[in-house]
């Protein structure tokens, strides 16, 4: 059975070769030559260094289109007009499924017809040369963002292609992103990715790794997200990763979000070995957006405001077109600048809100309980513990489409809009904690004069897209108009 142990070099090499034989562009990877390429990159393209030395939150959008020239243009635009500090390259869905042939078809289609039917940049198909052409053409660090359960070939090619940051992890790119991948396999696959990042790191090319914090993006209780971040961080550290950016997706309650970001940082530092440099990333609201750009700007700005108070190292921005589909580059840049403006206006202000410490203490207590349960389930081994804890429902993610998670946990907002747990299932939280949640939700139910039920959850899921934080019956409204 899989364990949290470093992959031996021979094994790394063997898998690497196997993998690279799987698709033509894989052959071109040459580790030593890749190290030299990375060493040739200027300081301002070194992802980990830029992120870790910044003195205020850096902004990064999401963006990926199939064709190389378009992707270059898009990223230049987002860097220039959007004033993004860090850039992304979002990978298409076929690549995420390891369907490189289909991706190839989509790419050729796009090249011929000029219309894009792929929803991202098929980096494997573009190969090392394509990746480097992108890295060379754009004057900022670029991260690979995807959602791929088995991202081994993608990692091999993009690392050699000059990318120095790579999103995802065995839990965070499995549970929210797929139905049938089992955790043991994704852990094994990501151990390879992390080991590869570790190999580069040992040669002085610190590849930044970023577990995907928002998970399903939908009312995820902070402690669950943080636990997953810490677990993926530990697994990555074992493989030699030394630059880790732990993520968290905005829930929309300012106190809870600030508390969660602080807890994320402190728990990350608590659990991860000293030699790992831990940074944090805050994702602007990842759930359903309002079908209206003006309202979406309000949602985005609340995220910016929260970031100004919590000061994460990085903020992933949304665009006002989030509801509709992949945004135009103009809308994407607009989301960046709206965020920038509100952050820069609020950043220098001292805004200390009451109650953050208490909320942070609760989140830390919950996370400790979950982490302890994982260690117990694995007899001290994080890899085994993760698998068994998910299997037992001791660790769980709300709205998880994956067969590997129970999906029994149901979240709902309390009367103040903080995300609490309505159904715990077998989640490893003790009665004390459960009572805190129950009491908060009871108060809300009382305010609304209704029972706690799935109806409440469904209302909360829709609330922000309907224009408010809490899914009150009849829209909460005694509005005057």
């Amino acid at each position: 059975m899989i364990r949290d142990e470093r992959i031996p070099s021979e094994q790394l090499q063997r898998i690497d070769e196997e993998l690279r034989a799987g698709w033509p562009t894989g052959q071109a990877v040459d580790f030593e030559e890749a190290i030299r390429y990375h060493e040739s990159l200027p300081a301002h393209k070194r992802f980990a260094d830029v992120l870790e030395t910044a003195d205020q939150p850096l902004l990064q959008p999401r963006a990926g289109v199939p064709r190389l020239e378009d992707q270059i243009e898009l990223l230049r635009y987002l860097h220039g007009e959007g004033e993004a500090d860090l850039l992304p390259t979002t990978i298409d869905s076929y690549t995420r499924d390891n369907e490189y042939a289909k991706a190839q078809e989509g790419l050729e289609n796009a090249r011929e017809s000029g219309t894009d039917t792929l929803n991202g940049f098929p980096a494997v198909n573009h190969g090392i040369d394509g990746c480097r052409a992108l890295i060379d053409s754009v004057d900022a660090p670029i991260e690979v963002r995807h959602g791929t359960p088995d991202a081994r070939l993608l990692a091999a090619i993009t690392f050699a292609g000059g990318f120095q940051s790579f999103e995802g992890g065995p839990i965070s790119y499995n549970i929210p992103y797929t139905k049938r991948h089992d955790l043991a396999t994704t852990i094994e696959h990501w151990q390879f990715v992390d080991r590869l990042a570790g190999a580069y790191t040992e040669r002085g090319v610190r590849i930044n790794r970023e577990p995907f914090g928002p998970l399903t993006g939908t009312l995820v209780p902070p402690s669950i997200a943080i636990t997953v971040m810490v677990l993926e961080g530990l697994l990555a550290a074992t493989q030699g990763v030394r630059s880790l950016t732990l993520g968290y997706g905005q829930v929309g309650n300012v106190v809870q979000d600030v508390a969660a970001l602080r807890a994320l940082r402190s728990l990350g530092e608590e659990y991860l070995p000293d030699e790992v440099c831990v940074t944090t990333v805050f994702h602007e609201w990842m759930g359903g957006f309002p079908p209206d750009e003006a309202r979406a700007n309000g949602v985005i700005s609340l995220g910016g405001m929260t970031a100004a108070i919590a000061r994460p190292d990085k903020v992933i921005t949304k665009s006002p077109q989030e509801f509709q589909g992949v945004p135009t580059k103009e809308a994407n840049a607009a989301g960046l600048r709206t965020t920038r403006q509100i952050i820069d206006m609020a950043l220098e202000q001292q805004i200390d809100i009451d109650g953050i410490e208490d909320e942070q203490a609760l989140i830390e207590r919950e996370t400790h309980a979950l982490m302890e349960s994982v260690f117990d389930h694995g007899d001290g081994d994080v890899a085994r513990g993760t698998i068994q804890a998910f299997d037992a429902g001791a660790l769980d993610v709300p709205f998880a489409p994956s067969d590997s998670a129970r999906g029994a946990v149901l979240p709902a907002r309390d009367d103040d809009g903080r995300v609490r747990i309505l159904e715990f299932g077998d989640l490893a939280m003790d009665d004390d904690i459960r009572e805190v949640h129950a009491a908060r939700l009871a108060r809300r139910a009382e305010t609304e004069g209704r029972k706690q039920s799935f109806r409440m959850v469904a209302d909360d899921v829709d609330a922000i897209s309907d224009g408010r934080l809490i899914g009150r019956p009849n829209g909460g409204g005694n509005r005057a108009d």
């Binding site: 869905s93 995420r96 894009d116 929803n119 399903t216 359903g288 489409p401 799935f454 829709d462």
Partner: protein
Amino acid sequence: MSRTVVLGVIGSDAHVVGITILEQAFSAAGFTVINLGVQSSQTEFAEAAVTHDAEAVLVSSLYGHAEQDCQGFHDVLEDHGVDAVTYIGGNLSVGQGDFEQTRETFEALGFDRVFDAETGPEEAIAALKRDLHITTTEHERATVTT
């Protein structure tokens, strides 16, 4: 007797929240819902429709690959002998497309109705009742019996 609908997310799309809400709403409205979950293949839809003798097949797609994922879908249904009402809904095109064009595309693929992501479940339920000639009384009975 309760009317049966098959519901799922097609292709390799994993957006599950929408169908979770739809499942709950259709159940509450008296339908028996066979929820295939996310990442369901065309064949899975067809087989479930046969097995459960479904009167409607509700396809969801959010991630922008719906058009590719639905190529030939209605042939597969026909091959399995499925003669159900077919709906599709969600974010059906990549990017900021015009919805009327999207509607035409998916009607041409054989769907009886096409919904955008602004559609609330109520709207789809009302449409399905009309298409299946379900009267309110029958619906109410259905609600009671399920």
